[in-house]
Chain length 141, copies 2
Amino acid sequence: MARGRTIDEIQIGDSASFAKTMTETDTYLFAGITGDLNPAHINQADSENNMFGGRIVHGMLCAGLLSAVLGMQLPGPGTIYVGQELAFKAAVKFGDTITATVTATEKVKGRFVKLETVCTNQDGTVVIDGTATVMPPKANE
Amino acid sequence: MARGRTIDEIQIGDSASFAKTMTETDTYLFAGITGDLNPAHINQADSENNMFGGRIVHGMLCAGLLSAVLGMQLPGPGTIYVGQELAFKAAVKFGDTITATVTATEKVKGRFVKLETVCTNQDGTVVIDGTATVMPPKANE
């Protein structure tokens, strides 16, 4: 399996993205595998009365799209995920198409790369923003 | 559906936790719903040669256990998830039992609660630590 990019192969400003339509199915599977059966995600009758007017996708599930871009594209395979800061800015409804984009912003101590991490919906609304810290693969890996 | 605790019903130091054994099945479902098919998670032949010596569970999937505690226990239903900082400290292998614990540490501006968020494995090793920021439900919700 080809490794991802080393720190020397990453330039500040490099960017990658992945888009996926988030569904009821995704949400119910995530509820099952995490135990997060919060009614906001799985109870239509109850959640119709909340501020979002119905069930919403888990924020942490959408954050998984950022993990996908980091682990598969930039830096890619061999990356060690060190940290992630997330700000949940807007709700994601079933059927929303979420684009996760990561952009390299800084190299730290010659070993770590910081990336701006943003998820937007089909209307361009930012639903998550934040910062990832990763350790890219070494050249000999 | 009963709502969770309001900010006035939460005391600094209040804590809640949830434990789950994380499996290959969980990991493959998460890979499918996020698109994170990083070989570290889904390729045994390749990942046997990496530093973890085999496939590991996605960090963001384990972070979902923290979302579960926040959304279902403390504060509980009606909580708005505002932000999460995560530091991934150790790998999670298939079969590891992860305990996610959240502890209220601070009230901010009378509207937000900060909680320390920690995931440990069956040996007591911290695999994730960080901080959550949430807006607890209002009394009339």
